[in-house]
């Protein structure tokens, strides 16, 4: 029993200390961003690597998710004779929810885990210490550009996911099941609201990009500098990001669309 309370105390304390460290880390990273702006080369290199890492998986997943939406949507809507609404159903599911959420989950699994492993290995091989001893702040030089690029890439990747998904819905609904092509597009244009759907979707993906980049970089920076420590940190990035994305999605959806 005493053991239980001891452990509970330990876990709580280490949780709080991690929260403190990660907040401090975030503040340092954010203040480092100002020194990235005069050196766009650092940022472009990172945008490229984050984008390339995630491009293929986002495109392919977007296509299949869109096709499944097209199929499922058709079966439900056709019961009510409302197949023409397929376009707007597919597009709003993607733009509001699936685009930001699934793209962020994929981003965490692909780019986030790679970021954690990269930073963790740099720590384990003393590259970060080496920079500190050269009086170069690794946060400014290494972490901040990666943070900024993750934060910028996420909305673009979510938009890509949604656009490809709409095409996937078109393939399944229009080309395979014979929904009227004109109503697929016109219903979508008429009923998708810029503020409610698109802006809110972008806000979500910005929030997810911020949180996933923060988690991934912090886990790498805070990793125990051994192979085992880095591998655990990589796992934590994927798991914690997934929880954070799904929980934040609920909160954001409630704030944006619900009347809570």
């Amino acid at each position: 029993m005493i053991n239980f309370f001891q452990n509970l105390g330990k876990v709580t304390l280490s949780g709080f200390s991690k929260l403190g460290r990660s907040t401090f880390f975030l503040l340092q990273v954010l203040s480092g961003i100002s020194s990235v702006i005069p050196r766009p080369r650092l940022l472009i290199a990172q945008l490229y690597s984050v984008g390339v890492l995630s491009f293929l998986i986002i495109t392919i997943s977007g296509l299949f998710v869109g096709m499944v939406l097209g199929l499922q949507g058709f079966y439900i809507l056709s019961d009510f004779g409302a197949e023409e609404a397929l376009g707007v159903m597919v597009a709003s599911s993607l733009v509001r929810e699936l685009g930001p959420v699934v793209a962020a989950l994929l981003f965490a699994g692909r780019a986030g885990s790679a970021l954690t492993a990269e930073i963790g290995l740099m720590k384990a091989t003393e590259q970060l210490s080496g920079m500190e001893m050269m009086a170069i702040d690794p946060i400014k030089r290494i972490i901040s550009p990666r943070f900024l690029s993750g934060f910028l890439a996420m909305p673009l990747l979510a938009a890509l996911f949604s656009s490809i998904g709409v095409i996937g819905g078109h393939i399944a609904g229009v080309e395979m099941l014979g929904v009227d092509e004109g109503s697929y597009w016109s219903q979508m244009q008429a009923n998708l609201d810029f503020q409610d759907d698109i802006v809110n979707g972008i806000i979500k993906s910005i929030v997810f990009g911020f949180v996933v980049s923060w988690i991934a970089l912090f886990e790498g920076y805070d990793a125990i500098p051994t192979s085992e420590g880095v591998s655990r940190a990589t796992t934590r990035t994927v798991v914690n990001s997934a929880f954070a994305i799904l929980a934040l999605d609920f909160i954001l959806t409630a704030l944006m669309f619900g009347d809570i």
């Binding site: 740099m122 091989t125 003393e126 590259q127 210490s129 080496g130 920079m131 500190e132 001893m133 050269m134 009086a135 170069i136 702040d137 030089r141």
Partner: protein, 271 residues
């Protein structure tokens, strides 16, 4: 810079420092000084805390007790910006090299120059090639760090450590992994750098012969204490058993080869 005033003063002064990694005591109240312009060696068996000592001097670790001054500044009371300014005057050669793996040899050496100076790219190129030439790796400038051997990586790291012409260089095991030819060159290079550029060098090593051949002063560390110090001559003739054992490389003596453990026989036959 007015070097004449404090030419003979101590550049590093470590006073009564104790340090533990977790519950493991690494240093127990040690004091030592490093003289300006000299080559000082810190020797001792593997795991005594030689690397730790360098990290304490560089301000990457903080002592539990005691104070460390570098160039009259207390390293652990400096503000971050001042510590970074001080570090620009300290070069450090890491045991592992610590080169950035995502950029090539040339860019690794150019990095501190690009970060800390406003030199033109053509000036930087000249400097980088000079430093690479000094370590014999001018031809390797386009290689990536993962294409270098361990010994080559160490030499590139040395070129990087001297890129900013520091006042002091800390070498962590510069000699391990070098073939006899580059070893000889490296020993000469360290000596020449020290004399030509009026540097101060701290060499951490357990290569007794090479280190003794260039050091002006040697500290021998073991078990968290300084067990011997003096010029190479004095160390060689020391009457301390500890120092003799280390210099000759005997497995048995006051310093134990084995990490503390229970009796070997008992350990083997325990079920």
């Amino acid at each position: 810079m007015d070097n004449s005033v404090n030419l003979n003063s101590d550049i590093v002064s470590i006073q009564n420092v104790s340090f533990s990694h977790g519950s493991r005591k690494i240093f127990d109240d040690i004091s030592l000084t490093i003289q300006r312009g000299k080559i000082t060696a810190v020797m001792g068996p593997s795991g005594t805390g030689k690397t730790t000592l360098l990290k304490l001097i560089g301000g990457q670790l903080t002592p539990d007790k005691g104070s460390i001054e570098v160039d009259k500044e207390n390293v652990h009371q400096l503000k971050r910006a001042d510590l970074y300014t001080l570090r620009k005057r300290m070069g450090m050669l890491f045991q592992s090299g610590a080169l950035l793996t995502d950029i090539n040899v040339y860019d690794n050496i150019a990095l501190p120059l690009r970060e800390h100076t406003r030199l033109s790219e053509s000036m930087i190129r000249t400097l980088v090639l000079m430093k690479l030439h000094a370590v014999g790796l001018r031809g390797a400038r386009d290689l990536m760090p993962n294409e270098l051997s361990g010994g080559m990586a160490r030499r590139v790291a040395l070129a990087r450590a001297i890129a900013l012409d520091p006042m002091m260089i800390m070498y962590d095991e510069p000699f391990t992994g070098q073939d006899p030819i580059s070893l000889g060159t490296l020993v000469k290079l360290i000596k020449e750098l020290n004399n030509a550029l009026k540097l101060t060098s701290i060499i951490v090593s357990h290569d007794v012969k090479e280190t003794a051949s260039i050091a002006d002063y040697i500290y021998v560390l073991s078990g968290g204490k300084i067990i011997g110090q003096g010029t190479p001559e004095q160390i060689k003739n020391s009457d301390s058993e500890w120092v003799q054992q280390f210099m000759k490389g005997d497995a048995d003596g006051p310093v134990h080869f084995h990490y503390p453990a229970i009796d070997y026989q008992n350990d083997l036959f325990e079920t």
